[in-house]
Amino acid sequence: MMKNLKQKMVALAGDQAVAFAAKQSDVDVVAAYPITPQTIIVEQFSEYVANGEVETEFICTESEHSAMAASIAASATGARAFTASASAGLALMHEMLFVASGCRVPVVMAIANRALSAPLNIHGDHSDSMAQRDSGWIQMYAENSQEAYDSIIQAFKIAENSNVLLPVMVGLDGFTLSHTLENVETFSDETVKEYVGIRKIANVLTHEGKLAPFRLDPKNPMTMGPIALQNYYFEFKRQQEEAMSNALMVIQNVNKEYGEISGRKYGNGLIDEYYLKDAEIAVICIGSTAGTMKTIVDQLRNEGIKAGLLRIRTFRPFPSEDIRTALSNVKAIAVMDKSMSFGGNGGPTFHEIRNALYDSNPRPFIVNYIYGLGGRDTSPTQLRTIYSDLQQILTKQTIDQPIKYLGLRD
């Protein structure tokens, strides 16, 4: 096993870090369509192609729908396929996302998270990928550009694992991460290429009853993406759920092995805990907000307040058990959602957390904060009020307002 391999610090915006990671992962086919704030990814990758720095077929498709179709087809042919999108582009792909997971193709996609229209808005929130949470894709969210880089490399290992074979999307907050320069530790091309390896194709039974690699291969004709009716469709779906639950362990293993070569770990790969052991109050959030939140927790801890933070890194499969364990001593919890589930009594993360903690005994107080929609700035002062609200809930032992909108104009 390789350990703590040599790395080089470079200044990269989140999008550039993603493109660089894809380049180093020896991707065979990139099929993509430009959309703000993902554009830097495709521009950067086009430059690699133009300068002969990658051995990749780059397909500049006429839509995101075709980008995903081409990615599925390339992956079904046996290639390692990567794409990137955001917002309306991801929404246009919606139909094909289910096809990708149903066809069990390990496509990796970066999402520079952005608000959905209308009204038109190009800035960061999680509406786009949260709307795809039931599409059968593994979903991971990065806290910073470093994690975006690391997660893209890890995503190939996770997606292509024969116990998983599911597509993976890695979210990075639009502009906050996608367009902001950060120092990123990077491996050499050779190291990443060796770590990710050439895509291994699992053997499956063909209709002729022999074992053959699961891809479009004239030597072993296979029918992929068939019609399956009342008698078989259900089993296909159950198997996808099985793969999702296998992914829980695979993501943790990949996080661990990657940690050994890089010196960087993201919690257990599923959740990232910050001062939770003895915390009485805790916030749960996703993405770059966690960076600011950690600073606030530091301040509160200095003041002697038992505050903690839980960052969800992997949203699908949802790590319910890990979250339950991590929060077992916490008495009041605030769940932050950068997207809405209209008419659904709170945001998507709130739903998941309430579901995960329903069986906790004693069950903690749980409240929801919707924030940052359309890129609305959320200041540290505003974020700090969440913890003071939680303190009040503990004092009063009751919740006055279960769902709040942070930084909303009155």
């Binding site: 065979d28 086919v29 099929a31 051995e55 990749t56 077929e57 397909i59 500049c60 498709t61 006429e62 839509s63 729908h65 075709s66 980008a67 179709a69 081409a70 990615s71 599925i72 087809a73 390339a74 992956s75 079904a76 042919t77 046996g78 290639a79 396929a81 139909e95 094909m96 096809v99 066809c103 050439i198 209709h207 479009l216 291969d217 004239p218 030597k219 072993n220 004709p221 296979m222 029918t223 992929m224 993406g225 068939p226 019609i227 399956a228 009716l229 078989y232």
Partner: protein
Amino acid sequence: MTTQEWKFTAKEIANKPDLFLPGHRACAGCVPATVLKLVMKATRGPTIVTEATGCMEVVSSIYPYTSWATPWLHTAFETAAANASGIEAALKIMKKKGRISQEHVDVIAIAGDGGTFDIGFQALSGAVERGHDFLFLLYDNEAYMNTGIQRSSGTPHGAATTTSPAGSSVPGKLEYKKPLADIMIAHNMEYVATASPYYWRDLITKVRKGLEVEGPAFLHVFAPCPRGWRSNPAKSIEYSKLAVETCVFPIWEAVNGNYKLSSPSKLLSLAPQKKKPVSDYLKGQGRFRHMFKPENKALLDEVQNITDKRWKQLLKKCNLS
């Protein structure tokens, strides 16, 4: 494209193993199924097929059975051409990296009229513009048959479908068939052709020519559907002949934009007296029944007029007028 035309005997074609196998669930008299069988007889080596959602996709891939003896992929309705681009790109780079054999693999994208004229048109136009090496095969049964006979932009003027019914105030489809093959020629494609399965030799030859093109090729194949056309299943192939004889569906090919009539249509251009009236083709098809009512005489005349007009335009393009 090679300059030497592929020669074959009927015996060779009959003896060539099928890649589209029997046992599929197509209706009696389904011409699209016959078309696919013939198309797959024209392959020249390893071939990957990708298909749009539609009748032929559904009848040939009911899990756990398949009619495909060649690798086959379906993803969605509008994606046949986008799939082909992904497959072609993957083959190219994997070959370059030495991960698969160096043998050439042909890619065929198949879609019906809905998956080509309408919902799949953007992906088709995009894939052709990008120049992927594939043959796009359109089997045109002139409506959304798989979902129950709804009109498409490939449905001809006057035809009754479930979304363009012949009612008391609207006599079937008012709009005209989109000239799709011409639109594909406007993409500066090296090879575009139309074919009808009655002239099966012509069809097979054109498939092979399309495969031999290094880049995108487009083949528009006429494919009667007795269920959707409300016609006698035993007469499906007869209709595919009549459509050519009446010039409703002339067969031709265009190499680098140079139109050239194929023999059956060429003969009609040389002997115009042999060109049959459109009513010979329309009668017997339930979808055109209303056109033979006295009050719809104008509609019948209009179909003859538009057919003559388009035929004249075609002759002009072939420098035959």
